[in-house]
């Protein structure tokens, strides 16, 4: 045990004396979160919209007024027919069109249901998504006002249609996404680099010709990064909550435990990489190309998996990040408990065991 602790202490010396990797370690999560956060901003103000009111009754006028009165929207013009909608978008000076169906009030009173179509210009998908959210919530609050003291609930169905980019998903994606990238990168890249560095330096030879077992060397390399990655995860969640007002719907402890699991998965991957390559440079290349790209492209972070071609959907299943993003989103956004995430958690555990077993098998007790 003393041997092992001595080894871990040495690892911490390496980490804290290398200013560059320290910067990557702690600077990158902050930079990425801020970058993604401000690039995908969901603040909207005085957005110009158009209204097509085919009903012209009390309800539709009240809703229109309510929307116009909010600080978020300004009604730029009123349209007279559906034909004008496309023309209005093409002009480019409006971001959304609100289309009330014919006889809206009548439907609402007689059938208890009225339909409003919200069309948004989703060439800027994040703004589009925010606009629909805001309009929907304004309509909902109007509906609540109306329903007070009324026997039968009126239900207004805002039918959202996004033109140009129909598959758009939530904007809060970025916090779980960045967290996944950072944890993967720090854990896998840093461990694989730190092990290959010993190979390059020649110190691996001395470690091999010492009583330290391969298990001790591997675990000794991993322990410091578990700590550091946990700190990173905490920084990201903290920034998400404070800077971007990200709601954490679920249990923080569960999120923490799942993060530790994913950190260990990534570390195991890092070790696996380092058993296969000899130089720091290749370790870095493989970590970046082989891990980062799939994490960004195939995990559902940026491109929704459901809209990928079927072969890629199948491939995305072997990307550990996909499962962790699902878990993180589930806990952070939906507030679900372990019961709903059992499948994902078990898959991650399975992957971790597989990677560890493979690395132990591949880790050589000799050179070559």
């Amino acid at each position: 045990m003393k041997r092992f602790l001595g080894f871990v202490r040495k690892e911490f010396y390496h980490i804290f004396r290398d200013k560059r990797s320290l910067f990557i370690l702690f600077g990158m999560p902050v930079a990425q979160i801020l970058l993604f956060g401000f690039a995908i901003t969901n603040e909207i103000n005085n957005v110009d919209i158009a209204v097509l009111n085919q009903s012209k009754d009390v309800n539709t006028q009240e809703i229109t007024q309510k929307i116009d009165a909010s600080k978020y929207f300004t009604i730029k013009r009123f349209l007279t027919s559906e034909k004008e909608i496309e023309e209005a978008f093409k002009k480019g000076d409006i971001k959304a069109v609100i289309n009330f169906e014919k006889d809206f009030s009548e439907h609402l009173i007689k059938e208890g249901q009225g339909s409003i179509q919200i069309l948004t210009d989703a060439t800027d998908p994040n703004t589009a998504s925010a606009i629909t959210n805001y309009i929907s919530s304004i309509i909902q609050s109007y509906q609540q006002q109306q329903n007070q003291g009324v026997q039968m609930d009126y239900q207004i169905h805002p039918e959202v249609r996004m033109v140009y980019n129909p598959e758009l998903k939530s904007v809060f994606m970025f916090v779980p996404g960045v967290m996944t990238i950072i944890l993967m990168l720090v854990s896998a890249m840093m461990t694989s680099i730190s092990i290959t560095r010993e190979k390059e330096l020649g110190t691996m030879e001395i470690l091999l010709v010492s009583p330290l077992s391969s298990f001790q060397v591997i675990v000794g390399k991993v322990v410091p990064y578990i700590f550091l990655s946990m700190i990173n995860a905490a920084i990201i969640i903290f920034l998400g909550i404070t800077v971007f007002k990200m709601p954490i719907a679920g249990n923080l402890i569960l999120l923490g435990l799942e993060s530790v699991l994913f950190i260990i998965t990534s570390l195991a991957l890092g070790i696996l990489i380092s058993t296969m390559v000899k130089t720091q440079q290749t370790a870095m290349m493989i970590s970046l190309m082989g891990l980062m790209l799939p994490v960004i492209l195939l995990s559902g972070f940026i491109f929704p998996i459901s809209s990928m071609p079927p072969p890629l959907q199948v491939i995305s299943n072997i990307v550990p990040a996909k499962w962790f993003i699902t878990i993180a989103k589930g806990i952070m956004l939906k507030g679900v408990g372990l019961g709903y995430l059992l499948k994902e958690t078990l898959i991650l555990i399975g992957m971790t065991v597989f990677f560890i077993a493979l690395s132990i098998k591949k880790y050589k007790i000799r050179l070559e």
Binding site: R3, L201, T203, E205, I206
Partner: protein, 301 residues
């Protein structure tokens, strides 16, 4: 508790690095493997330190088989690889402490053994290893290899790239370590260091050319060697190479070492020949061969 090597061979892909090598190092001996880069020294060291498995043959270190008992060997040998293999970002003291800890010992416990070496660098113990001079790095590496009181010490080219002063000090330290019952196998490309070993094996292209004590090995050269001097070195070399009876012509310091093909050699004849080639201050005298002469003579075959 020495080293026993029997018919060891090792190839990388199709290149044979070590070809059927056998030798024995007695307990407490200071044994030198002398040969140029690419002779197979490092491969042999890696086989003996359990880092590589030989294709053929057997070897024992401190009584343990290098393949089956590799764990025991890893507890009882010290190894200093060819390159400077310490943590550059750790200080002298941290490096030494680290190696003491992983071998389950402490600096204090074996201070006696490393004192001689470590004392010379102890004043700088808080300096990072990356900022040390070549000689100091070498002493630190030796201290780290010694810290767990190994029975056998493997030093792979410890003096390569190190200046003559540090080299001399290093060999003096090895001589003193030998007194403390440590078997030492050391490799070097510097032939002049061979004279400081108890016994040496001359090695080239994966094969051992000769094994003996340095004193005995130089007597094995069958030819008489002559020191030849002339004021113009390049002229002398070309003239000697053109001489029909020349067996070998090698520059050696300010002289040329010359051997003749014939049994009866008359130095006057050569002197006249050289003077006819317009060489000045020609002198020819018989000299004692050194290990480099032996190495070159043997590797010609």
């Amino acid at each position: 508790m020495g080293i026993l090597v029997e018919n060891i061979s090792k190839s990388y892909k199709n290149v044979a690095a070590v070809k059927d090598i056998s030798f024995e190092v007695k307990p407490g001996e200071l044994y030198g493997l002398i040969g140029p880069d690419g002779a197979g020294k490092t491969t042999l060291f890696r086989i003996l330190t359990t880092l590589l498995v030989a294709d053929k043959g057997q070897a024992k270190v401190a009584g343990y088989d290098v393949v089956q008992d590799y764990k025991n060997i890893r507890h009882s040998v010290g190894y200093m690889p060819g390159r400077f293999s310490l943590y550059q970002d750790l200080t002298i003291e941290e490096n030494l402490n680290f190696f003491a800890t992983i071998f389950g010992t402490s600096i204090e416990e074996n201070y006696d053994l490393i004192k001689d070496v470590y004392e010379q660098i102890e004043p700088f113990k808080n300096r990072r290893a990356g900022k040390l001079s070549g000689g100091m790095k070498q002493k630190l590496a030796l201290s780290c290899a010694l810290i767990h009181k190994p029975k056998v010490l493997f030093l792979d080219e410890p003096t390569t790239g190190v200046d003559p002063v540090s080299r001399k000090e290093f060999w003096e330290m090895l001589k003193r370590l030998q007194q403390k019952d440590i078997t030492i196998l050391v490799s070097t490309p510097y032939m002049d260091e061979a004279a400081l070993c108890d016994r040496i094996a001359l090695i080239q292209e994966g094969k051992i050319l000769e094994i003996d004590s340095p004193e005995a090995i130089v007597k094995k050269i069958p030819k008489k060697i002559y020191d030849i001097y002339a004021s113009n070195m390049y002229g002398l070399l070309t003239a000697l190479k053109d001489f029909e009876h020349a067996h070998s012509v090698f520059p050696f310091g300010e002289f040329v070492h010359y051997t003749d093909k014939r049994e009866g050699f008359d130095s006057n004849e050569l002197k006249i020949y050289l003077e006819n080639k317009n060489l000045q201050d020609v002198s020819i005298s018989l000299t004692e061969p050194d290990i480099e002469d032996v190495f070159m003579e043997l590797s010609r075959k």
